[in-house]
């Protein structure tokens, strides 16, 4: 059992790490990763939602009738997202202004719904929550890395602290939309290359 949980926990950090392996949740990954802080905040918000929704949905999985399951999932996820939004406004106001519409949009984030439908609806609460933690941490990790690359190259700082001297000319290309596509594409390519080199079997998506 604990062996099994360990497999689930590590899966989200490499084997199905979003957004690279899962190729879901790309929209916020592209849009808000202009700085590390935003990436980290967004990742943690999603981690909370996916963990809690995993737990709640899997404990209700035998009660919810199959025909209305998607509607029920959406109601539960929307509630959790609204709670995150309220909490963020109350405790991290500047961050919530920065993330703006992307926090409410977690409701329709495919990762959350995908894990609810693909995992939580078929497994008991504990593995579902572990799966949520793993996916959430994986997403946080990815967004932090993407955010770091874009902020360091695009603004010459990390968490707002300058890392280069005065001579550094920031590549403003990196903090605009094309920079996001290039960063994610390169990272995805590197991960695939590494997996191939190690002879890992993987299925994209």
């Amino acid at each position: 059992m604990s062996q099994n949980l360990k497999v689930i926990l590590t899966a989200g950090l490499w084997k199905r790490i979003p957004p690279f392996r899962l190729v879901l949740g790309l929209c916020p990954a592209l849009a808000i990763t202009t700085s590390v802080e935003n990436g980290l905040g967004m990742g943690l918000a999603l981690a909370f939602v996916v963990t809690m929704s995993g737990g709640i949905i899997s404990s209700l999985r035998n009660i919810i009738p199959a025909k209305v399951r998607i509607a029920s999932y959406i109601v539960i996820i929307a509630t959790l997202v609204s709670i995150v939004e309220i909490l963020m406004k109350a405790y991290f106001f500047p961050l919530s202004e920065q993330l703006g519409i992307y926090i409410p949009l977690i409701v329709v984030n495919c990762i959350v719904l995908g894990r609810a439908e693909g995992f939580a609806s078929k497994n008991p609460p504990l593995p579902s929550m572990v799966d949520g933690v793993s996916i959430g941490l994986g997403y946080t990790l990815s967004l932090t890395i993407i955010g770091s690359i874009r902020e360091i190259l695009g603004a010459g700082s990390w968490f707002g602290i300058p890392v280069f001297g005065e001579f550094f000319e920031p590549l403003s290309f990196m903090v605009s939309a094309p920079g996001a596509f290039v960063t994610i594409g390169v990272l995805l390519g590197l991960q695939n290359l590494f997996s191939r080199w190690r002879g890992e079997k993987f299925v994209q998506g």
């Binding site: 919810i64 009738p65 025909k67 029920s72 709670i83 309220i86 909490l87 106001f93 202004e97």
Partner: protein, 199 residues
């Protein structure tokens, strides 16, 4: 039939408990959110109007109820007397929606101390130029007992070129704040002294 009934019941129960949780969260955290909004949204405008750190003035807030709408009024004191007020006003009819303004009022000299924009959704480069000091500084030193108006209407305010709607909204908002001051001056001062006694 029983399956349909079950679906209805389950979905209603889920929706019901979700709304209960949300109502609780909203009610519980509303005062904190209001404080944060004051600090981060109104704070910068107040800092510029009063020339003091936002934390010092944010607690000096009274609400004036006009026709069922609560209008926030901030103040600072000079010694024991209330010296300056900042009245929040809504500038209706901006190009991208209503403007949220803050009008500074010096009670000692009877002049306005300036116009600050709390939030707006005007077009960048046109209406958004309302944030520029050059436009806003026209308010400094205007008397509080006379309505402001654009130069086109015989007043002294030069409109932002290409953004007449925005300029009109700013002027309209100011006039509303001045009306509020005229009609509710005693009520405002009363609630300020009530607040001072409490603390």
């Amino acid at each position: 039939m029983s399956e349909i009934v079950r679906m209805v019941i389950v979905l209603s129960m889920i929706a019901g408990s979700c709304s209960a949780v949300l109502t609780m969260a909203d009610q519980g955290l509303a005062p904190r959110i209001e404080k944060q909004t004051d600090l981060y949204v109104r704070g910068p405008a107040l800092e510029r109007l009063f020339g003091k750190p936002a934390k010092e003035v944010l607690n000096n807030k009274v609400l004036v109820e006009v026709d069922g709408v609560e209008i926030p009024v901030f103040y600072i004191k000079n010694g024991k007397k209330v010296s300056t007020l900042a009245i929040e006003a809504i500038g209706k009819g901006g190009y991208g929606g209503d403007l949220k303004l803050m009008i500074g009022i010096d009670l000692d000299s009877g002049n306005q101390t300036g116009l600050e924009v709390v939030s707006h959704s005007e077009t960048p480069g046109l209406g958004a130029r309302i944030e520029e000091v050059r436009f806003r500084q026209q308010w400094q030193g205007l008397p509080i007992d006379k309505k402001v108006a654009l130069t086109a209407n015989g007043g002294v305010i030069d409109a932002i070129s290409g953004a007449t709607a925005t300029s009109k909204a700013a002027v309209g908002g100011t006039n509303e704040a001045l009306m509020l001051l005229q009609n509710y001056r005693d009520a405002i001062l009363k609630s300020i002294s009530a607040l001072e006694e409490k603390s």
